[in-house]
Point group: C2
Chain length 521, copies 2
């Protein structure tokens, strides 16, 4: 799939913009040539023994400066690379890595672990004073060992999604972890940020797919034992999962795999009332059926992503199995949605891999994967297009959703003179959904970043005061740190800081993520 | 269900002992009268403001000295109460609790959280020098709030299993967490020890049923936000889950509930070959069917617990749902077992709650709940009867099982001149089983404890060297600490110790569990 929009897509975009925002200044702002960026010279020099691993190529440094959020795209377009790392370092082994971290500790150089650089929360950005290196793990790209019997593999952390699946496919196995960033992110990044996969229920979070991990910290290597389950003390892996590089760098993990699915069935369900649609989705989430997809698109989202009109939204349902036909499962699910006034629009069924699903499910999936490219093209035309995500309990959802959408719409009106907000559920749990919001509004080229930052602050305030989480699967990074500080228990933060003090006494590991490790940086 | 054996059961036991161990000295050793124990006087005096909460009744102190392991039963029978707490304290509120912990910190008195006292790993025992109090949480026994929509409840940590279910039943809800200790253990104990429920797959571990927690530490209260899922940093709850009272005392939690099941179907499957039985169990664990029970009893276990003869063991299967009939599920499961040479013996099916299942499933369940009472009666007759449990990956199981059973049988032969070992799977995961072993051997009354400790050490060595976990759901406590020290990553232990230093600077919280917090105790 090509990164850029096709000329046909570009024409479509510009036509649609002219129709939706007739007065908008949609002139295209092309990105600067990265070769003419005049990045400052590195502030530190690598030790001779490691210098072969260090690179200061300006294009490489520029490529390691930002993540993939809207604010990253805008800063790239404006040539703002003030947070560029001094060096990009590519270790080839754990020994290299340990040596690099030793040097960083001695020289007080911040070490930023870099997987695919797809953070949307400033997680890989040197947003602090003082020198920093970006440690790109791309040479750790191998599946080292496969255990077909237990369906697990020992995998290096720097492998990208497609390369990982390529190495598993000959064994009939798959990790089946598909974040939207799949092609541009790595196993290590997923683990460090507690990534959420594409699937709506059960084994979809990277946390639950993890059997054991190896982490290189400034104080040495931590390796947990490969176990299907254990009650021996608090889980060691759960300390590193979500630590966002603040404690060390994950080098490899034993991951739980699945057989490649054979049976699949999907349905799109149309609702007249969003309240009913939410109730239907909740009933399915609580029925013990565990669909692979259970994505409720609200009417705005259904129109924007799947091109379908509905009064109350569309629920995209799918069941899959490598073992058995899933007819009984979808039958019961369609009974449930019918009880809540849902109308099943199209159902597909297959018994062998190959054919892709059509209908709203297919349209939505395609839009899902292409979305970041549309977002980039919109940013070039001064359109704010970004997402944010959270989770809350079912009892709270109606009020929560109203509070959040009111806050967003108010901010869009105040700051941009209008705009739209849409919502879909990416994951559903028996006790609550994970709503994912899309925002689109006409911005001003010279104030695009400040406009978005103001909207984002209003949104984040609303999420935290209404009881949600500041992030369900995008991570905390640096962007979410002020709201994360309100969310996590203070004593837990104190405990985490104590762990960091023990494992990273020099405070070099990704300072600022999770709001910890900033002293002296 | 009465605690003691009936006279008929006692006769049966003695007949069976005479047959199985004809030369054994099976004289009955009655427990001493707890009123004549002559416990030493408390070494510290409570502060006046809190003295109403403190009790030093000898029977009460004796009752809070040990847990419910075989070695606890033996020590109780022998009147060995050297580890009795100085006081039993029953706080009525979090304020009481905070005051108690303040006093403990000031006076260097160890604080041992006490739920139901059903630890089988010395988790509630004052096994150290210096004064100690047992903090019995039994007055924290209420369900405080119910959220029917999200199916969750805010529950105080001191509530026992049956009282908890009694409070949920009027709402049609259940926690459905049934450890063997259900009647004699509390929510707080389950949370602190990462308890495993009766069900074999999916939402059965207390970890996964936890939405949020409140913990009173010596440095204040930590409360996490109620969320169905979150990717905001490492999970705060996962730090306290499994901390075994070493960081603070859990006072309440929001727990995920379920609707009470309506549809149920069970089957017992007989195998001629244990290898085939294991393969069938693995296939089911990997099929995405998620049975509520999937317990493979090996031939010894099938004979001892379910009274059934089999060459290769019996697999007890069950599916349950509150939402839909589960015929499709069990149909596929029986296809899978048939493919592996299993013969379905009896199948039951019900569409409404009420009737209990018969066959091996029913017999086994009854034996499961009565087992601790048989164990106590055996101990009185100098028979060693105990269990231990672990987990490993499927690829490792055959070799692991051989190593463990060889070690146990060797130890039994050396130490007791013989004995039997049996195995069942309590939980199955896609990547491995949780084997649970039962041991029975004729002991000598005057050396019963030393005999068991020697067997247990041999078993634990075998588990750790063969790659298993020292505990899948019994916890670490004090008994497992030496082997836990080999299992957990050293740097993780250092991190946990750093957290403890921050939350419990005086080191008063349950010193010795998890092998941490011993300095000065």
């Amino acid at each position: 799939m090509s990164e850029a929009l096709s000329s046909q897509e570009t024409e479509e975009l510009e036509r649609s913009l002219a129709a939706s925002d007739p007065g908008h200044d949609a002139r295209v702002h092309a990105p600067p040539d990265p070769r003419h960026l005049n990045l400052p010279a590195p502030r530190v020099q690598p030790p001779a023994a490691l210098s072969a691993l260090f690179g200061a190529d300006p294009v490489d440094r520029a490529g390691h400066t930002h993540g993939k959020a809207f604010r990253d795209v805008v800063r790239n377009l404006r040539g703002d690379l003030s947070a560029a790392p001094d060096w990009v370092v590519r270790p080839t082994s754990e020994t290299d890595l340990a040596d690099i971290l030793d040097w960083c500790s001695q020289e007080q150089v911040a070490a930023i672990p870099y997987g695919g650089g797809s953070s949307v929360v400033g997680g890989t950005e040197a947003r602090f004073s003082g020198p920093a290196i970006s440690i790109d793990m791309e040479l750790f790209d191998q599946v080292l060992e496969i255990d077909r019997t237990s369906r697990a593999a020992r995998i290096q952390a720097g492998v990208y999604g497609p390369a990982l699946e390529d190495q598993l496919r000959p064994h009939g196995l798959t990790l089946r972890h598909y974040p939207q960033s799949f092609a541009y992110s790595t196993l290590g990044g997923w683990l460090a940020t507690r990534a959420g996969g594409h699937f709506a229920t059960l084994y979809t979070h990277i946390d639950d797919l993890t059997e054991s991990m190896r982490v290189v910290t400034p104080q040495g290597v931590s390796e947990s034992r490969r176990l299907p389950g254990s009650g021996a003390g608090p889980s060691p892996d759960r300390l590193f999962l979500g630590s966002e590089g603040s404690l060390g760098i994950i080098t490899e993990a034993w991951m739980r795999l699945q057989d490649r699915p054979v049976y699949q069935t999907t349905a799109s369900v149309l609702f007249d009332s969003y309240t009913e649609a939410v109730a239907a989705t909740r009933a399915i989430a609580q029925a013990g059926l565990y669909p692979t997809n259970c994505r409720l698109l609200d009417p705005n989202e259904a129109r924007g992503s799947a091109g379908m009109e509905s009064g109350g939204g569309i629920l995209v349902l799918a069941f899959e199995s490598a073992d058995h036909p899933v007819d009984a499962w979808i039958e019961r699910a369609t009974e449930i949605v019918s009880d809540h006034g849902g109308r099943v629009q199209d159902r597909t069924r297959r018994d062998a891999a190959g054919a892709s699903s059509g209908g709203a499910a297919g349209a939505w999936r395609s839009a899902f994967l292409r979305m970041p490219y549309w977002r980039d093209a919109l940013a070039q035309r001064s359109i704010i297009a970004e997402t944010f995500e959270t989770a809350c309990t079912w009892d709270a959802f109606e009020e929560f959703h109203a509070a959040v959408t009111t806050a967003v719409q108010g901010a869009l009106n105040d700051i941009c003179g209008g705009g739209t907000v849409s919502c879909r559920f990416t994951h559903v749990y028996p006790d609550g959904p994970a709503p994912y919001y899309g925002v689109r509004a006409p911005g001003r080229w010279d104030g695009l970043l400040a406009q978005w930052d103001e909207i984002k602050a209003a949104v984040s305030e609303a999420i935290i005061s209404a009881g949600g989480t500041i992030t369900h699967h995008h991570a905390v990074g640096r962007d979410h740190a002020p709201w994360y500080a309100q969310q996590r228990p203070d004593l837990y933060a104190a405990g985490l800081q104590a762990v960091k003090g023990r494992l990273d006494p020099a405070g070099i590991m990704n300072p600022g993520v999770l709001g910890i490790g900033m002293p002296g940086k």
